[in-house]
Amino acid sequence: MTYLKPRRAILWHYAKVELVPPTPAEIPTAIQSLKKIVSGAQTSSFKQLTVKEALLNGLVATEVWTWFHAGEITGKRGIIGYDA
Protein backbone atom coordinates (compact mmCIF):
# COMPACT_ATOMS: atom_id res chain seq x y z
CA MET A 1 0.00 0.00 0.00
CA THR A 2 2.72 2.47 0.99
CA TYR A 3 4.54 1.58 -2.22
CA LEU A 4 1.52 2.15 -4.44
CA LYS A 5 0.09 5.32 -2.93
CA PRO A 6 2.57 7.88 -4.29
CA ARG A 7 2.69 6.12 -7.63
CA ARG A 8 -1.09 6.13 -7.87
CA ALA A 9 -1.05 9.84 -7.04
CA ILE A 10 1.41 10.49 -9.86
CA LEU A 11 -0.64 8.43 -12.28
CA TRP A 12 -3.80 10.27 -11.30
CA HIS A 13 -2.02 13.61 -11.64
CA TYR A 14 -1.15 12.89 -15.26
CA ALA A 15 -4.32 10.98 -16.15
CA LYS A 16 -6.54 13.83 -14.98
CA VAL A 17 -5.13 16.05 -17.69
CA GLU A 18 -4.11 13.67 -20.45
CA LEU A 19 -6.67 10.86 -20.46
CA VAL A 20 -9.78 12.88 -19.83
CA PRO A 21 -12.56 12.43 -22.37
CA PRO A 22 -13.41 15.55 -24.38
CA THR A 23 -15.88 17.93 -22.77
CA PRO A 24 -18.75 18.98 -25.02
CA ALA A 25 -17.17 22.43 -25.33
CA GLU A 26 -14.09 20.98 -26.97
CA ILE A 27 -15.91 19.18 -29.72
CA PRO A 28 -16.17 22.19 -32.12
CA THR A 29 -12.41 22.72 -31.73
CA ALA A 30 -11.88 19.09 -32.60
CA ILE A 31 -14.05 19.35 -35.71
CA GLN A 32 -12.11 22.42 -36.83
CA SER A 33 -8.80 20.59 -36.45
CA LEU A 34 -10.23 17.75 -38.50
CA LYS A 35 -11.26 20.17 -41.24
CA LYS A 36 -7.78 21.66 -41.22
CA ILE A 37 -6.27 18.22 -41.70
CA VAL A 38 -8.66 17.41 -44.54
CA SER A 39 -7.93 20.71 -46.29
CA GLY A 40 -4.23 20.13 -45.74
CA ALA A 41 -4.55 16.77 -47.48
CA GLN A 42 -6.44 18.39 -50.37
CA THR A 43 -4.00 21.25 -50.96
CA SER A 44 -0.96 18.96 -50.59
CA SER A 45 0.41 21.24 -47.88
CA PHE A 46 1.27 18.13 -45.90
CA LYS A 47 4.34 17.79 -48.12
CA GLN A 48 5.77 20.76 -46.19
CA LEU A 49 5.98 18.70 -43.00
CA THR A 50 9.36 17.58 -41.80
CA VAL A 51 10.03 13.86 -41.52
CA LYS A 52 10.10 14.14 -37.75
CA GLU A 53 6.66 15.72 -37.67
CA ALA A 54 5.32 13.13 -40.06
CA LEU A 55 6.68 10.32 -37.88
CA LEU A 56 5.11 11.85 -34.79
CA ASN A 57 1.77 12.13 -36.57
CA GLY A 58 2.05 8.49 -37.59
CA LEU A 59 2.77 7.51 -34.00
CA VAL A 60 -0.26 9.41 -32.73
CA ALA A 61 -2.45 7.81 -35.40
CA THR A 62 -1.16 4.39 -34.31
CA GLU A 63 -2.11 5.21 -30.74
CA VAL A 64 -5.68 6.09 -31.71
CA TRP A 65 -5.86 2.87 -33.72
CA THR A 66 -4.66 0.97 -30.61
CA TRP A 67 -7.55 2.42 -28.62
CA PHE A 68 -9.85 1.09 -31.34
CA HIS A 69 -8.41 -2.43 -30.98
CA ALA A 70 -8.63 -2.25 -27.19
CA GLY A 71 -12.34 -1.45 -27.57
CA GLU A 72 -12.73 -4.38 -29.96
CA ILE A 73 -11.17 -6.77 -27.45
CA THR A 74 -13.53 -5.46 -24.75
CA GLY A 75 -16.55 -5.91 -26.98
CA LYS A 76 -15.56 -9.38 -28.13
CA ARG A 77 -14.77 -10.48 -24.55
CA GLY A 78 -11.77 -12.42 -25.84
CA ILE A 79 -8.31 -11.46 -26.92
CA ILE A 80 -8.28 -13.55 -30.08
CA GLY A 81 -11.68 -14.40 -31.48
CA TYR A 82 -15.02 -14.15 -29.80
CA ASP A 83 -15.83 -15.32 -26.31
CA ALA A 84 -12.50 -16.87 -25.24
Binding site: E26, I27, I37, G75
Partner: protein, 89 residues
Protein backbone atom coordinates in the same frame (compact mmCIF):
# COMPACT_ATOMS: atom_id res chain seq x y z
CA UNK B 1 8.18 16.31 -12.46
CA UNK B 2 7.25 17.10 -16.02
CA UNK B 3 3.96 18.99 -16.22
CA UNK B 4 1.23 16.96 -17.92
CA UNK B 5 0.82 17.60 -21.62
CA UNK B 6 -2.29 19.17 -23.06
CA UNK B 7 -3.86 16.75 -25.50
CA UNK B 8 -5.59 18.26 -28.51
CA UNK B 9 -9.38 17.86 -28.48
CA UNK B 10 -9.30 16.11 -31.84
CA UNK B 11 -7.21 13.33 -30.35
CA UNK B 12 -9.47 13.02 -27.32
CA UNK B 13 -12.55 12.86 -29.51
CA UNK B 14 -10.93 10.35 -31.84
CA UNK B 15 -9.68 8.10 -29.06
CA UNK B 16 -12.90 7.86 -27.12
CA UNK B 17 -15.13 7.60 -30.16
CA UNK B 18 -12.93 4.83 -31.56
CA UNK B 19 -13.18 3.03 -28.22
CA UNK B 20 -16.95 3.15 -27.88
CA UNK B 21 -17.70 2.52 -31.54
CA UNK B 22 -15.49 -0.57 -31.59
CA UNK B 23 -17.10 -1.96 -28.42
CA UNK B 24 -20.58 -1.46 -29.86
CA UNK B 25 -19.58 -2.97 -33.21
CA UNK B 26 -18.02 -6.10 -31.75
CA UNK B 27 -20.87 -6.68 -29.33
CA UNK B 28 -23.40 -6.47 -32.15
CA UNK B 29 -21.29 -8.92 -34.17
CA UNK B 30 -21.10 -11.33 -31.25
CA UNK B 31 -24.89 -11.67 -31.25
CA UNK B 32 -24.98 -12.66 -34.90
CA UNK B 33 -22.49 -15.48 -34.83
CA UNK B 34 -23.39 -19.06 -35.74
CA UNK B 35 -23.35 -21.36 -32.78
CA UNK B 36 -20.14 -22.90 -31.59
CA UNK B 37 -19.46 -26.58 -31.11
CA UNK B 38 -20.25 -26.41 -27.38
CA UNK B 39 -23.57 -24.63 -27.93
CA UNK B 40 -24.60 -27.10 -30.62
CA UNK B 41 -23.82 -30.05 -28.35
CA UNK B 42 -25.82 -28.47 -25.55
CA UNK B 43 -28.78 -27.91 -27.84
CA UNK B 44 -28.83 -31.50 -29.17
CA UNK B 45 -28.43 -32.83 -25.63
CA UNK B 46 -31.44 -30.78 -24.52
CA UNK B 47 -33.52 -32.08 -27.42
CA UNK B 48 -32.51 -35.66 -26.64
CA UNK B 49 -33.46 -35.10 -23.03
CA UNK B 50 -36.97 -33.89 -23.92
CA UNK B 51 -37.45 -36.94 -26.13
CA UNK B 52 -36.31 -39.29 -23.36
CA UNK B 53 -38.62 -37.59 -20.86
CA UNK B 54 -41.52 -38.04 -23.24
CA UNK B 55 -40.86 -41.77 -23.70
CA UNK B 56 -40.50 -42.29 -19.97
CA UNK B 57 -43.75 -40.50 -19.32
CA UNK B 58 -45.56 -42.70 -21.77
CA UNK B 59 -44.11 -45.85 -20.21
CA UNK B 60 -44.96 -44.70 -16.72
CA UNK B 61 -48.55 -43.74 -17.14
CA UNK B 62 -49.45 -45.98 -20.04
CA UNK B 63 -51.52 -43.18 -21.37
CA UNK B 64 -51.58 -41.92 -24.84
CA UNK B 65 -48.61 -39.83 -25.80
CA UNK B 66 -49.28 -36.12 -25.62
CA UNK B 67 -50.63 -34.67 -28.78
CA UNK B 68 -51.30 -37.85 -30.64
CA UNK B 69 -54.72 -38.17 -32.17
CA UNK B 70 -56.40 -41.51 -31.64
CA UNK B 71 -58.92 -42.49 -34.18
CA UNK B 72 -61.85 -44.29 -32.66
CA UNK B 73 -64.46 -45.87 -34.76
CA UNK B 74 -67.79 -44.14 -34.43
CA UNK B 75 -69.59 -47.40 -33.90
CA UNK B 76 -67.67 -48.32 -30.78
CA UNK B 77 -67.65 -44.90 -29.26
CA UNK B 78 -71.36 -44.80 -28.87
CA UNK B 79 -71.61 -41.79 -31.05
CA UNK B 80 -74.21 -43.50 -33.12
CA UNK B 81 -76.76 -43.95 -30.35
CA UNK B 82 -76.00 -40.46 -29.04
CA UNK B 83 -76.79 -38.91 -32.36
CA UNK B 84 -79.93 -41.00 -32.56
CA UNK B 85 -81.00 -40.07 -29.06
CA UNK B 86 -80.39 -36.37 -29.07
CA UNK B 87 -81.11 -35.30 -32.56
CA UNK B 88 -83.45 -36.75 -35.04
CA UNK B 89 -80.79 -36.77 -37.68
Amino acid sequence: MVPPMQVSPLLKLGRYSALFLSVAYRESQALQLPETQAEEERRTAAEEKTKQDELKRVERTGRNPRGWHIKVSLHFSGAMWMSKAFCAV
